[in-house]
């Protein structure tokens, strides 16, 4: 009967891990409704599985506060300094990639936001911010902070790898279009690991995505 105490000891971690991996599996295997717009389905499903399910899990099953999911201020005093530092570091990588590889040729930006500055701002603030929030709650909040927090910095790399696998499986493989998303996941993972705060990691992710688009437009 040594198995049961072992299970009991690792129960919280196993339970959260099962939920995280199960959620990803459900997302990937979820049958698409052919009569509905695919993009709308992806956003709605993402909101349900990546935001609503983790919050319900924390509130109903764990009966814990949302701060355990990272909805809190930074636990580090210098968190606000870490955000721009990490963003600059990651964007430097992105810049090098842009210079070395023909990324900008295959990187798609809608014509409307390329030709209209107000639409560009709206796109970046609303759409990019919303999508980034979905990923933050799940990958940084549930996976990194709630599930793997005891692994420290290693958790940041793990969740980035998990995110990369998720993108590769659920998308059309890995393309240059996904590079800023992966970079933002890595950057915000470091911030989440350091600050234990979803708002901080969210800002980091958004900043990386926003400036990546700006760089693309500038280089073009």
């Amino acid at each position: 009967m040594t198995f049961l105490p072992l299970l009991s000891r690792w129960k919280p971690m196993l339970r959260t891990g099962l939920l995280a991996l199960g959620t990803l599996a459900v997302y990937i295997l979820f049958p698409a409704e052919s009569r509905l717009n695919a993009t709308v389905q992806s956003v709605l499903l993402g909101a349900a599985l990546f935001v609503v399910v983790p919050i319900l899990y924390v509130k109903l099953i764990l009966r814990a506060p949302l701060s355990s999911l990272g909805f809190q201020d930074s636990t580090r005093r210098l968190g606000f300094l870490a955000v721009p530092l990490v963003a600059i570091l990651v964007l430097s990588v992105w810049y090098v990639l842009l210079r070395i590889f023909p990324v900008s040729d295959s990187y798609f930006l809608p014509v409307a936001i390329r030709s209209s500055f107000p639409l560009f701002l709206l796109y970046e603030v609303v759409l990019v911010g919303l999508i980034a929030f979905l990923y933050e709650v799940f990958f940084r909040g549930l996976v990194l902070i709630l599930w793997l927090r005891r692994f420290g910095l290693g958790a940041a790399f793990f969740q980035a790898g998990l995110f990369l696998a998720f993108v590769a499986v659920s998308g059309n493989g890995l393309v240059w279009q996904d590079a800023p998303l992966l970079l933002s996941a890595t950057a915000s993972g470091f911030i989440a690991s350091y600050t234990r705060s979803i708002p901080y990691s969210w800002v980091t992710a958004w900043l990386v995505l926003f400036l990546s688009d700006v760089l693309i437009l500038v280089i073009r």
Partner: protein, 949 residues
């Protein structure tokens, strides 16, 4: 010494003699110079400037009587509505002309005669409102004026209420006059301020003479000279250079003197003298004399007798004569007294007119109250109409004609709504103006005389509006000019639109009833047969009768059921008649009708269109381009179109879609026709050996043209010929619309790829149609992507180089041969591609890029034959991109079992959004439940009490 003197004289004499002889010789040998002659000068001018003596004579004769051809002011009225009902507001709008003032500076004195308020009627016997001014025993013109101007000044207070016990009248308290609303009316209009001119005139319609009403305080200076015939003058001095170069002081006429205190007076430096008229226009000295022939002959010498009179006499006297004048206004007056327009508007006047004594502008129209009483700028009069109302108007202002007086005055005149006044008691008076005795026609007519004229100038708003046109003036126009009737099942005939326009309608368009009639004949003169009912039965004419139906459209798809025996006649004529009718009331009705005749081409012949081929041949060292007919285009018609492609073909049959820089061939079956003539947009279109070597081109039943123009414009190709059997002309037209070329993608095999179902739309007749997306398609998960391209214009695909991409990867092209609903094979370009495997819901981006490029031979032909530079016929790149999504439809079907069949049926009726939401919620809930349930079976780790350890 004497000898030398004699010698000199001899030399001088010889010199003079030589000069005289020489001059005489020259004069005899050269052409003689005539003496100066005014007649010759004038004659030369006539010749030089082509002046016709008769024309000049006519002109002079016209000048002679031009003084009696002067225009006098007139005014016309317009009533709105022209058919008022009792109690309804009606407006009379005045349109004065031939005044030099602007309209808002004229004085409009309106008159309103109510029923029973006839002139001369006893005030006691007439209705109480008739005696509006409250004086006289009988009704006068002033009563009519007061009635109208009171309404105008009070902005609609139709009747002047009696003063109530509370001292309130018309809602105003007359306890004092606190406003400054007086207005002093100048003669000739509100803008003639400070002129002091009071020259009033009446125009005599018969003689054309303007008679002056003798002005008030008239002051005429009368001068008397000692001798008869001398004229009073002011003499100005001038210094002329004499022959001895010594200055001589002379005098000349400088103007007329004035009479001040009976003393002739001139300007400083001038002399007041009487002068002989003979020196009026020359310089003279005070001591000069004037020779006067006495008209008799001296019996001894046989010469005329004469005497010398002095040029100047210093015996002038003068006196000033005053005359009583009668220049006056025709304003409405309070109680018959002339107080209106005197600049003082007291409490009594306020009470009389019903204006507010505490508001300077009771009518709120921007005028002071007294200005409204005199009708300043009141060109519109609005009142509540009652049966029997009559309206009159007299407008005072400055005419276009200047007076003869030595000032800036124009004639102050009146315009009347009727015939005006016949001028009586005429005469004239003389007055000195600029030193000349000027005769001015005058009349002694008084204000009463003119008021009596106004009695005859009243107009009835009812008959005035309708009297100008007893019938409706109607015009009917039809377009297009030479329409074509199509008896075939294509039903592609033109639509004739006939529109009726009424120029004198008193009703709004929707209140006029129109009735239309359509007749047909084989000529434009007679033999008309009514086919209105037949057109309606055939569905070619929607409606023919109705209010506001001023336009009808006739679809010229008339077959034998409509045309009867004229079905084989070409051309035929349609006579389209419109009747219009409007009612004023139960008894008064106006109507009118008009028609238009339209020539209709009625032939089964059609203009067939073709693409073209071009080639170059060498003639000597010169390359010659010619074109020939290619494949038929835009000639397919589907009587019962089954899909969008059939409808597109039918659209091309009516208006063939072409792209610019294409060469199009057109041809007509020549059987039974002769004398062919082509036109393009109305200009001749010729076809000869320099264009094409086709025999039909030389015959004339074939032609080619280059498509030149911007997308969106149309090209109309016309064809005319003569029917050999009937000798009548045959006209055909064909329209080509220039479009931007485009390409659409569609499924090549609906088993593999099908357009996304969007829903249904319902026609106005209730028929539901399925609606499918043109940009989103679905495919089976493991199925091929079988799609094909459809070009517009259809033949654009044949000159295109195409590139297909699926998710950015180039895909080889294949061709599909399909059969259209007419049974003809059509080759289309497409792909048949096995894409990489993706899960359900994944999307493939399928795109085509087509480069349209005319063959070099055709570009050369465009340049050689039509002068289109090759830089204008270069390539055009078009493309289309669609999304194809993997779908499980067709792979997951409902099983035959009862329960699954039931749920399959239920799911079929549940909206997809709801199904998705339920699935999503159930998935999330199941996930949470599973995790929660599974781990609830595992006990929590017991916390270790570290203090015990």
């Amino acid at each position: 010494m004497k000898k030398r003197t004699a010698m000199r004289r001899a030399i001088s004499f010889a010199t003079v003699a030589a000069l005289v002889i020489g001059q005489s010789f020259v004069a005899l040998t050269a052409t003689a110079i005539s003496i100066p002659s005014a007649t010759k000068v004038m004659s030369d001018m006539e010749k030089r400037y082509h002046l016709n003596a008769g024309a000049i004579q006519n002109y002079g004769e016209g000048i002679n009587v031009s003084g009696t051809k002067l225009v006098s002011p007139e005014v016309s009225l317009y009533f709105s509505p022209s058919d008022p009902k009792d109690g309804q507001k009606i407006s009379a709008k005045a349109f004065p002309i031939y005044f030099s003032n602007v309209n808002d500076k004229l004085y409009y004195t309106w008159m309103l005669k109510r029923q029973g308020c006839d002139i001369g009627e006893l005030a006691s016997a007439a209705p109480s409102y008739c005696n509006a001014d409250g004086v006289d025993d009988r009704i006068t013109v002033n009563d009519w004026k007061v009635t109208a101007m009171r309404i105008l000044a009070t902005d609609g207070a139709d009747m002047n209420d009696q003063t109530g016990e509370d001292g309130i009248q018309n809602g105003f308290t007359y306890d004092g006059n606190t406003d400054e609303d007086g207005y002093e009316a100048e003669f000739g209009g509100g803008n003639k301020i400070h002129t002091g001119h009071d020259w009033c005139y009446l125009h005599d319609q018969s003689s054309g003479v303007n008679y002056e009403l003798t002005p008030k305080s008239f002051s005429d200076d009368a001068f008397t000279c000692g001798s008869a015939g001398y004229i009073p003058a002011c003499l100005g001095s001038v210094v002329n250079m004499g022959t001895d170069f010594i200055g001589v002081t002379s005098y000349q006429y400088a103007g007329s003197p004035s009479c001040e205190n009976d003393i002739p007076t001139c300007s400083s430096g001038e002399l007041a003298r009487c002068i002989n008229p003979a020196v009026a226009n020359i310089d003279f000295q005070l001591t000069d004399t004037v020779r006067v022939d006495l008209g008799t002959i001296d019996p001894i010498t046989g010469l005329p007798n004469y005497r010398y009179d002095p040029a100047v006499e210093d015996n002038m006297t003068c006196s000033t004569t005053s005359m009583d004048g009668r220049c006056f206004h025709l304003f409405a007056q309070m109680g018959g007294r002339s107080t209106s327009g005197d600049g003082e508007y007291g409490l009594n006047e306020e009470r009389f007119w019903g204006t507010n004594p505490h508001d300077p502008d009771t009518a709120d129209n921007g005028n002071k109250d007294e200005a409204n009483i005199v009708g300043l700028g009141a060109d519109t009069f609005t009142w509540n109409y009652q049966s029997g109302d009559l309206i009159g108007l007299v407008v005072e202002g400055s005419a276009m004609t200047p007076t003869k007086h030595d000032d800036s005055s124009m004639m102050t005149m009146w315009a009347f709504t009727g015939d005006g006044c016949r001028v009586t008691d005429t005469g004239s008076y003389d007055t000195m103006i600029k030193g000349y005795n000027v005769t001015i026609p005058s009349t002694d007519m008084t204000q009463d005389d003119i008021d009596s004229c106004l009695e005859r100038d009243l107009v009835d708003p009812l008959t005035y509006g309708q009297g100008s046109a007893k019938k409706i003036e109607l015009d009917v126009a039809a377009t297009p000019e030479n329409p074509i009737n199509d008896q075939t099942e294509e039903r592609a005939g033109d639509t004739v639109t006939a529109t009726a326009a009424i120029t004198n309608s008193a009703r709004t368009g929707s209140e006029i009833q129109y009735t239309w009639r359509v007749e047909v004949s084989d000529n434009a003169v007679d033999g008309w047969r009514n086919i209105t009912a037949a057109l309606r039965n055939a569905g070619l004419l929607p409606s023919t009768t109705g209010n506001g139906l001023n336009t009808i459209s006739i679809a010229l798809n008339m077959d034998r059921t409509v045309l009867g025996g004229l079905a084989a006649t070409d051309p035929i004529y349609l006579r389209i008649t419109a009747g219009a009718r409007e009612n004023y009331n139960d008894t008064v009705t106006r109507s009118g009708s008009a028609n238009v005749i339209v020539r209709v081409s009625n032939t089964s012949k059609k203009i067939e269109s073709f693409s073209s081929n071009a080639s170059q041949t060498m003639t000597g060292t010169t390359s010659v381009s010619t074109v020939s007919l290619g494949d038929p285009i835009c000639n397919v018609f589907h009587p019962n179109p089954e899909n969008a492609n059939d409808a597109s073909d039918n659209l091309d049959r009516v208006a063939c879609r072409v792209m610019k820089n294409e060469i199009i061939g057109v041809r007509v079956d020549p059987a039974g026709l002769s004398n062919f003539r082509w036109t393009i947009d109305g200009k001749p279109l010729s076809c000869g050996p320099s264009v094409s070597a086709d025999a039909a081109c030389s015959t004339g039943n074939e032609a080619f043209f280059a498509v030149v123009g911007s997308p969106g414009t149309s090209i109309n190709v016309g064809f005319e010929a003569v029917n050999i059997d009937t000798g009548r002309s045959v006209s055909l037209t064909r329209t080509f619309n220039i479009v931007e070329p485009k390409v659409d993608l569609e499924t090549a095999d609906a088993v593999y790829v099908w357009p996304r179902y969007l829903g249904q739309y319902v026609d106005l007749d209730g028929t539901a149609h399925d609606d499918y997306s043109q940009n989103f398609f679905e495919k089976q998960v493991d199925g091929l992507i079988r799609m094909q391209a459809r070009f517009v214009p259809g033949f654009a695909g044949d000159i295109s180089n195409r590139t297909w991409l699926v998710d950015g990867i180039a895909v080889p092209e294949t061709t599909y041969t399909v059969t259209d609903s007419g049974g003809d094979p059509v080759t289309l370009y497409g792909i048949d591609y096995a894409a990489m495997t993706k899960p359900v819901g994944s999307v493939f981006n399928v795109s085509i890029t087509a480069k349209l490029e005319q063959p070099a031979s055709k570009r050369i032909a465009l340049k050689d034959i039509w002068g289109i530079d090759s830089s204008n016929s270069d390539e055009i790149i078009i493309g289309k991109s669609v999304q194809v999504q993997n779908s499980d439809i067709g792979t997951a079907t409902a099983a035959d079992s009862g329960v699954k069949k039931f749920f399959a049926a239920v799911s079929g009726y549940v909206p997809p959004a709801l199904q998705f939401a339920v699935r999503m919620i159930l998935s999330g809930g199941l996930l949470l439940f599973t995790v929660g349930f599974l781990f609830s079976l595992i006990p929590e780790e017991v916390p270790v009490d570290r203090r015990r350890e």
